[in-house]
Subunit: 325 residues, 2 copies
Amino acid sequence: MKVLIIGAAGMIGRKLAEHLVAAGMLAGRTIETLHLVDVVKPETGGDAVTTDVADLSAKGTAESLVAARPDVIFHLAAIVSGEAEADFEKGYRINLDGTRDLFEAIRAAHDKDGYRPRLVFASSIAVFGAPFPEKIPDAYHLTPLTSYGTQKAICELLLADYARKGFFDGIGIRLPTICIRPGKPNKAASGFFSNILREPINGEGAVLPVADDVRHWFASPRAAVSFFIRAAEIDLDKVGPRRNLTMPGLSATVGEEIEALRRIVGEEAAGRIRREPDAGIDAIVAGWPTDFDAQRAKELGFSAETAFDEIITVYLEEETGQSAA
Amino acid sequence: MKVLIIGAAGMIGRKLAEHLVAAGMLAGRTIETLHLVDVVKPETGGDAVTTDVADLSAKGTAESLVAARPDVIFHLAAIVSGEAEADFEKGYRINLDGTRDLFEAIRAAHDKDGYRPRLVFASSIAVFGAPFPEKIPDAYHLTPLTSYGTQKAICELLLADYARKGFFDGIGIRLPTICIRPGKPNKAASGFFSNILREPINGEGAVLPVADDVRHWFASPRAAVSFFIRAAEIDLDKVGPRRNLTMPGLSATVGEEIEALRRIVGEEAAGRIRREPDAGIDAIVAGWPTDFDAQRAKELGFSAETAFDEIITVYLEEETGQSAA
């Protein structure tokens, strides 16, 4: 089987690629080629791996990616929320038009020779916008409050329509906020959710800009990879025409994150968190969803962590080689 | 004030134009110019009226329509559901790209000189797709089962994002099925809902292809015009960021339509309906919404008929010059 990952140099794309290299299989079939594409060179290596640097929104890129007729396409390429908000045209060009170009290239190939790949699209809980019920049900409407969320919601609609017409076997998965993000602290408004765990684990200080009772929706990078694998292998007849699914996750408060850190790593680590309230970040976070009833995805075999201790343990295992204290 | 209607030759566009010519006012201001545009020449005349034949999806059309800086833009132009389903590319080109061209032309004018019109977009209950709860709430998700519905849902998302960014003051209104459509019977799957009333009123026979207990969601052409007028004048601060509203309507069965015909026009008229079940039409109609709880729109001052007798009376008054028997 031929697998293509677009956006393979990003945090999740890289972990997905590494998983596929290690497994050598997807949906019960041997992976013969694993084509990794991003706007910066993907670093994952392996016997089946080929890499390319390409911008999906550039003319001709989508056609050239589809030319090899990959059986499974994972589409994770996007510019992030902050950049899409700051640069309206770039956000629509990359996050909407790039995706539409990909879908159109697949449709052209379908019309030519019946090509019909599995397409897994990385969507986001940014498709939702406040106010929310306490738990957001699967049938809740999408009223994004950012251009990024709007672009993801539009791609979900396109995906469902192209799938309905039989141009590809598409499925969209709405990822929770991924925690603990490895690497360095970044300036994303959501960065602190990971920073306050990762930095203390690594012996560094971290700033907490919001109150301990702020609640959010999380899954580990390992759970995120498992969502993509499940989405690639699931029987889509069981999913039906509603092809965009809110992934399961863990609803937890910042205070619960810190309690888990204390339990798993120790009091000293928890002591490295400095509270520096930031009204700006507080206001942004107040518009984010806090809890979902991801019933459909759970019934369809997607699963995530159910306690923050597990999320911390995943980080220790994957990024530090340690196990829980 | 300068008013532009795109799609002014369609049934609702024409009635909206006639209403504005007769009123001479909109949102408390005198209408100085009323620019009517469609792919066929709009027939409405009047002192302030200018007409143009233009395709919104053709290069340069949107810019030229925006050049006069209309204060209010009513955007009703679209190809219908059946055509969008049969011709995938044409549907996306006209119903999605044409609308996006319009939005982009307004954004360019906004960036140039601060232009910020009121934009009223005609959406449709086709943005919803079965299965449904008994009454569809305002917060129900959009899972369209047609390309037409997908295109309308995408335009709704774009509208909300462009409005959020301040490029225009946008509002989208999801129209119920309009009944009684004047004119000749057409081949739309929904045509029978009007045919079984209009034809008997005019002394002609009509075919009913579904069972009497089929339920659907209706408003008269007069109510539809009132929705556009209300949308043009409403204080959008009261609407908030969720700019796409399900319009009020009347949930009624075919049997209730016929009972109303009998009451308002007479037994003889009701006797002109022939029952010829059509499994194909029955299957299509089974996927359509039957009832909404259009709470937000009602609270915001939109209103429609509450009994089918009123819907028939509107037809008699507007199309035949008769009043109820």
